[in-house]
């Protein structure tokens, strides 16, 4: 007993704070978290990290809290965790060490502990603490190769009730700098009974730059061969108001029909199209639901609007939509209709925990997506697809999603 007390005494008074910071960053980097930095300011400990180890952001946060609760925290009152994506700060979670200790010692359960946490999607003041420090276990220049399954299908042909085309798509992505990433995706057909010509070919080859500005403003610029056989530039700007509860978004792109064929030979036409959309989105935090209204030009060059309701259940997304544009939908038996309704489902796919990110890593894709459009032959209101960007998983960083995810994952 006396020996233990002496050890604690020595630890408290002789363990220098910068060594403690170093031990935090090393421990997190050793676990596989990236872009780790930590700094002590007065009695506050600031830690920033990026999770590319767990598919779901809340799971990564739960692992860090479990680790922190078993760690000796010398003279620290508050801990602030700043979570990043592509080295861009996304959300901050703060906790008082007495709550962490109470959770560790079993005086409060995980549910009570989560109520003590403070979340904020406004990170401007926190990121400034890390500008001078170098990241441990940088995420830059590592090759990640997610492999995913995709499905195209058609219902309603009298010759064949269900026609399918399955793809097994490997993708290569790499973060080249803060917010800069490169992506190459090969669309690989493994089964096909859909009519029409279809080839396995490189469907995406692009670079992107993502920015986060002050006051919750995000920007993505993408250049190259983009999804849906479009070649050109896409920009997406999103301004969050009242944290994540409301945002306005603008999409603008100039693209032409173009892709690389199976021999990597560019195929394109000379006509460039300008596309634009503006969106208004309300986030109903109680039920993790987005209510979205989009007006603008859709994939087929059709002008109109789309109403969407998306319910998020942790990693599962259920989306209902109704679109009405200036392209008529083709209905059954030769009829035409003015709008289209449908739904989509995105479910987690493959591993929930990946191998530690190293120079080269192969893993499964995060999601499998299924889209159902009631009028299958309609070109009305089709979304403009974009490759992965800062917006792809941004909803996982919303405070309420993290809070509910912690309830599920915190032991």
């Amino acid at each position: 007993m006396i020996r233990s007390i002496s050890a604690i005494f020595v630890f408290i008074f002789l363990f220098p704070s910068h060594a403690q910071e170093k031990s935090f960053t090393s421990a997190l980097a050793l676990q596989g978290f990236e872009n780790v930095r930590s700094i002590e300011v007065d009695s506050d400990l600031y830690i920033t990290y990026e999770n590319n180890l767990f598919r779901f952001e809340a799971k990564g946060l739960a692992v860090i809290f479990n680790w922190l609760s078993g760690t000796y925290l010398n003279d620290i009152e508050f801990i602030h965790l700043l979570i990043r994506s592509q080295d861009i700060p996304m959300v901050v979670v703060s906790v008082h060490t007495t709550d962490l200790t109470a959770f560790r010692d079993g005086f409060i359960n995980s549910q009570d502990f989560i109520t003590k946490l403070s979340f904020s999607f406004n990170v401007d003041s926190f990121d400034s603490y890390f500008t001078a420090s170098n990241a441990t276990n940088s995420s830059y220049f590592k090759l990640d190769i997610p492999v995913g399954l995709e499905l195209d299908y058609a219902l309603g042909d009298f010759n064949d009730g269900l026609m399918t085309r399955f793809y097994l798509n490997p993708r290569v992505s790499s973060v080249l700098g803060r917010g800069i990433d490169f992506e190459f995706k090969f669309q690989n057909i493994i089964q096909n009974d859909l009519p029409g010509r279809a080839i396995s070919y490189p469907s995406i080859l692009r670079v992107s730059q993502n920015f986060r500005f002050n006051n919750g403003r995000f920007l993505n610029l993408s250049l190259g061969y983009l999804p849906q056989q479009r070649y050109g530039v896409h920009t997406r700007f999103r301004n969050y108001l009242v944290n994540e509860r409301f945002y306005i978004e603008l999409l603008f792109g100039v693209t032409r029909f173009g892709y690389l064929d199976q021999n990597l030979k560019p195929v394109s036409n000379r006509n460039s199209d300008a596309i634009w959309q503006t969106s208004f989105n309300y986030r109903w935090n109680k039920f993790d639901t987005d209510i979205n209204f989009t007006y603008g030009v859709f994939y087929s060059g059709d002008l109109g609007y789309k109403l969407q309701l998306t319910r998020q259940f942790n990693e599962v997304y259920f989306n209902l939509f109704y679109a009405r544009t200036d392209v008529l939908s083709a209905g059954s038996f030769g009829s035409t209709e003015e709008g289209i309704i449908g739904f989509s489902l995105s479910v987690p796919f493959g591993q929930s925990k990946f191998l530690k990110p190293r120079r080269l890593r192969v893993r499964t894709e995060d999601n499998f997506n299924l889209l159902y459009r009631y009028s299958g032959f309609s070109f009305s209101g089709i979304d403009i697809m974009e490759s992965t960007s800062i917006f792809t998983d941004i909803r996982e960083f919303y405070p309420e999603v993290l809070r509910k995810g912690l309830i599920r994952h915190l032991e």
Binding site: T289, L320, G331, Y374
Partner: protein
């Protein structure tokens, strides 16, 4: 035979809560709907069997058994959304038959949740996509109705009467699934809460059924439509919000 039947009932009583789905795929008794909507995130994947002569689709309902397969999701504790794909067993998809399985959406909105003094009140809309201007012109399973349910406890017995009225507000020419007044009662008890008995008039026929939970995520119902023709459904459920 009686001992086997009682053993079956015993097996049915291992898990709590009786499936609330119906033959149509939405929350209900046997074929008629109830006013209850499940908590947010509850999802049901199921199949049911519609005997020949007890449904109408492409005017072939007298020739083939219908097999609806459905996915039903509860949202916000107030809304139930269903997508259903109704097959006809034995019917061939071909240019000659001009047959293709039917697709439909249903949305039900619970306006008043059940409380100690008030019954639950729900509006239901089945196969109304054409009315929204968004789909094909085949509303064979069209229905729009208002329905109310209330559960009473009498000692160890739970009694849930339901009544409603269906009226085709979309003025469509196809025969609606429900037409006019419907009512029914579901009875269960605290000793074997996984088993319930249903008796109903679904606006077309009188029906009786037994509903049971066989395992934690699986439930089924077997009953007689028009008190004579066997029918039933099998449902797998899970909660996405957990």
């Amino acid at each position: 035979m009686p001992s086997k039947f009682y053993f079956f009932l015993l097996c049915c009583s291992f898990y709590f809560g009786v499936s609330s789905q119906s033959l149509t795929g939405t929350n209900g008794l046997f074929r008629m709907p109830s006013a209850y909507v499940n908590p947010d995130g509850y999802t049901y994947l199921g199949v049911s069997f519609l005997p020949k002569g007890y449904y109408n689709y492409l005017d072939d309902g007298d020739s083939f058994t219908g097999m609806p397969s459905f996915i039903t999701l509860s949202l916000f504790n107030k809304v139930e959304f269903m997508f259903r794909y109704t097959h006809q067993l034995g019917q061939v998809v071909s240019p000659e038959t001009q047959y293709f399985p039917d697709r439909m959406f249903a949305i039900r909105i619970n306006l008043i949740p059940e409380s100690e003094s008030k019954p639950a009140l729900t509006f239901g809309f089945h196969d109304i996509s054409e009315a929204l201007g968004g789909t094909t012109a085949t509303p064979w399973f069209l229905a729009s109705y208002i329905v109310s349910s209330k559960t009473f406890s009498l000692k160890k017995i739970l009694i849930s009467p339901t009544m409603g009225y269906a009226y085709n507000i979309f003025k469509n020419s196809y025969s609606p699934v429900f037409d006019g007044f419907f009512a029914g009662i579901e009875i269960s008890n605290f000793i074997s809460p996984n088993l319930s008995f249903v008796s109903e008039y679904d606006s077309n026929t009188f029906n009786v059924a037994i509903k049971a939970n066989l395992f934690k995520h699986l439930s089924m119902s077997i009953g007689l439509l028009d008190l004579s023709v066997p029918s039933g459904f099998l449902v797998y459920n899970f909660n996405l919000a957990r």
